[in-house]
């Protein structure tokens, strides 16, 4: 199998990349890790006539961190987030999520930004970025803008990105308190997209109260979903079994899954409830254990 013929462009600056996108409009597609786009082109589900490869644009693999946030350049690959121990303590959800995506070979090529731009509602990074209260930088002919994760996903495979825009960086707020995270995923086999996935992150302050909770959901709606009502139940509260169960039920009620070969809508809704409960309970017990150890 091979794709339809196309023209290959490999710009060496962001301006050049944007100019190519402006010139070719809907005919052009950005190529990042190619782990979604190339399979689609081989199956002729996608047939762009121009490919604009980001692989030679300098600086897109940059990583910077200040006291407010971590910024990851668009060419940051899944594997680098899985293996960079430097990030694990402050940004545990990155590793928890990366390790669940596809298989190690796909993770060596695929990028976080490519996954977000692709906007598969079952993708893992979409759920994680929502749980992290992250945002993205988008560059286009009219300059640069920031889009928050809550605003980024529009519909199935549709985001706020215009065809002449490049997602250039992903930003994640730096936690201010102890941070706990987990990514739970139901998959039919290793490396498959989620039937259902739940991405969870909470910070817990010195008084044992939850701060900046985030609950991202994959596979249970037309986009990645943020269970905001469930998360706001948690804000400012200490974790308890009762609260956890209430939040899990709220998160489940926020979903809109479809029945398909991967499972019925009822089953998926129930899995969300179960995963939120299981995830928050594991966070609670890790928190309690940490406390006991330091006491």
């Amino acid at each position: 199998m091979f794709p339809n013929a196309f023209e290959y462009q490999s710009p060496t600056s962001l301006d050049e990349a944007v100019a190519l996108l402006v010139e070719h409009g809907y005919e052009a597609k950005i190529l990042a890790g190619g782990q979604s786009l190339l399979p689609m082109m081989k199956l002729r589900v996608a047939a762009p006539t121009v490919l604009v490869d980001l692989g030679r644009v300098p600086g897109l693999d940059a990583r910077t961190e200040n006291d407010r946030e971590l910024s990851l350049g668009a060419m940051t690959r899944h594997a680098s987030l899985e293996w960079d121990e430097d990030l694990w303590a402050r940004y545990p959800l990155l590793r928890e999520t990366a390790a669940w995506i596809a298989d190690p070979l796909v993770r060596n090529r695929g990028t976080m930004a490519g996954s977000l731009a692709h906007a598969d509602p079952a993708a893992d990074w979409g759920a994680a970025l929502l749980a992290l209260h992250g945002s993205v930088t988008v560059d286009g002919p009219n300059g640069s803008r920031r889009v928050g994760a809550d605003d980024f996903f529009v519909d199935v495979f549709t985001t706020r990105l215009e065809p002449d825009e490049v997602l250039t960086a992903v930003h994640i707020p730096r936690p201010e308190h102890d941070v706990f995270a987990t990514h739970l995923k139901l998959e039919r086999k290793v490396g498959d997209f989620a039937v259902v996935a739940v991405s969870l992150q909470v910070e817990i302050d010195g008084d044992g109260r939850i701060r900046r909770p985030g609950i991202g959901l994959a596979g249970v709606g037309p986009t990645s979903l943020h269970a905001t009502a469930a998360a706001s139940l948690l804000e400012g509260q200490p974790l308890s079994l009762e609260l956890i169960r209430e939040a899990a039920a709220k998160a489940s009620a926020a979903t809109d899954p479809a029945s398909d070969r991967r499972g019925s809508a009822d089953f998926k809704r129930d899995m969300v409830r179960l995963f939120v409960e299981r995830g928050l309970r594991s966070i609670e017990s890790r928190f309690d254990e940490g406390r006991r150890r330091s006491a």
């Binding site: 196309f6 190529l31 190619g34 081989k42 594997a79 190690p104 070979l105």
Partner: protein, 164 residues
């Protein structure tokens, strides 16, 4: 498009269409047919090659993307007639039956041992989770890697001695 790559240490050039996949550059243009194409849909890992030392599925990379980069294929494992410890391991531990997945398995586990020369069984199993085998049940593939790991460590030690 004219591209040049270093393949198993040798500089090679080829004239390819942009839509040529890396696996077909390797097999058809460079005549290195050790790299197999199994599923052709990014699922099986039979086509795994190392790109700048990193294992990737060569059916899901364009040849033009790797212009100027370094490739290693299964043909690069044997050195001066001497099988690589992993190749010996697959031989000794019966790590293959039909052998279709083997080139991909070898490249993935080569990269694993380069990064982590003393992997646990769990780490080996995770590392090969993108390489499918329809014959062996994986048991003997894991044993082959366990056979090779100490030999790779010895080789490294020896190389370090020489460097001193």
């Amino acid at each position: 498009m004219l591209i040049s790559v270093t393949v198993n240490g040798q500089e090679r050039t080829a004239d390819v269409e942009p839509r040529t996949l890396l696996c077909y550059l390797v097999r058809d243009e460079l005549s290195l047919t050790g790299t197999h194409v199994g599923c052709d849909t990014t699922s099986c890992g039979a086509c795994t090659v190392l790109l700048d030392g990193v294992p990737v599925k060569s059916c899901t990379v364009l040849a033009v993307q790797v212009d100027g980069q370094e490739l290693m294929t299964v043909e690069g494992l044997e050195q001066a007639g001497d099988l690589h410890p992993l190749q010996k391991g697959f031989w000794e531990s019966h790590g293959l039956q039909c052998g279709f997945c083997t080139p991909g398995m070898l490249m993935t586990t080569y990269a694993l041992l380069e990064r982590n020369p003393d992997p646990t069984e769990d780490e080996i199993r995770r590392a090969i989770s993108g390489n499918l085998c329809r014959c062996t049940g994986y048991q003997n593939i894991v044993k082959a890697v366990q056979y090779a790991a100490p030999l790779v460590r010895e080789k490294r030690e020896a190389a370090r001695e020489v460097a001193r």
